[in-house]
């Protein structure tokens, strides 16, 4: 490396921005060249001056004025969030589905209470296998209806239900 090339890279080197081969190359040259070393020291001194100059400190008056102004700054403003229509629809759909299922169950229980139907007799009439099938069907339907209504609003694990 010659002095001209070194001079080109000296500012970057002084700023600590050279790495690897370039840094080693310039270091080697600086070890041999007094003039370039002096130039590097000039850069380093200049950078030190820029950093070392005392920072301005706020006067008491400036600090008081700032504190007074900041006293009136509303740091905790109410966050205005828009109503999430999609979430509201989901909530409504799930509520309706649950209400339908409960209404069906209440109807069955009311009919039993009024003596219109006799559930134990029906069970005895159906037999165990049919009872198991029917119970499974009821569980499936009562779980499925709310999920189906909800899933119409939002895809559920990739299922889109009628979209």
């Amino acid at each position: 490396m010659n002095c001209e090339r070194c001079e080109e890279m000296l500012a970057a080197h002084a700023a600590g921005d050279l790495e690897g081969a370039k840094a080693m190359e310039i270091e080697r040259h600086l070890g041999e060249c007094h003039a370039c070393r002096t130039a590097l020291e000039a850069y380093q001194g200049m950078i030190a001056r820029l950093a070392d100059e005392p920072m301005l400190s706020p006067t008491t008056l400036e600090s008081e004025r700032l504190a007074e102004v900041l006293e009136h700054v509303p740091v905790c403003r109410p966050v205005r969030r828009p109503v999430n229509v999609r979430s509201f629809k989901e909530f409504l759909g799930f509520s309706v589905a649950t209400a339908v299922v409960f209404a069906l169950m209440l109807t069955v229980l009311a009919l039993q209470a009024l003596g219109q139907i006799d559930i134990p007799a029906l069970i005895a009439l159906m037999g165990l296998p049919r009872l198991v099938v029917m119970a499974t069907a009821i569980v499936f339907v009562t779980s499925f209806i709310p999920i189906w209504i909800t899933a119409r609003q939002r895809p559920l694990n990739g299922l889109t239900f009628g979209r």
Binding site: A11, A42, M46, I47, P54, M55, P58, R65, L70, V75
Partner: protein
Amino acid sequence: MEHLPDEELIARCACGDRRAMDEIVSRYHGKLLDFAFRHLHDREAAADIAQSAFIRVFESADSFRQKASFRTWLYTIAMNLIRDHCRRWKVRPEAPYSEIEEAAPGDLPTGRRWYSPEEAAVDRIAASWVWEQVDELPESHKAAITLRFRHGLTYDEIAEVMGAPSGTVKSWIHYGLKSLRESLQPLNCEV
């Protein structure tokens, strides 16, 4: 509060914590004042810029998304305010650093090594020469050099504050340093 990082403090500010606000002000008031003063050379205008920057920061504390560092955000706001001020008033700095030269010895930051009055005077004159030359640099070079060497921002942070690529910031700084050295050489000053 002193041990908390800036990002935690600003999150607390968003929840209305006044002590967090005070801590941020104590950390950055002097720095912002200095940053604005280096550009405007008008103490009153610099104080106004610092004040406006803090107001903007605290008013929009809840919108700080922590994508950038807090100080990058703060300096970006300050930089924009400085640009607005310069545009509005067509500022051209005059008599730079007179206020620094007139500053009382008590204004020196604590933790700095002791200076005799003579040493301090020589030091201040040399530093003011350097800063006078910095003033002659193009605005972008000057801002980049100030942010890098005076405020210790990284190249990426400066790039974000200045709205320029990191590589461009690097070349601004290198060219700025070269120009400074060239302009200080004829003075034969011990910098």
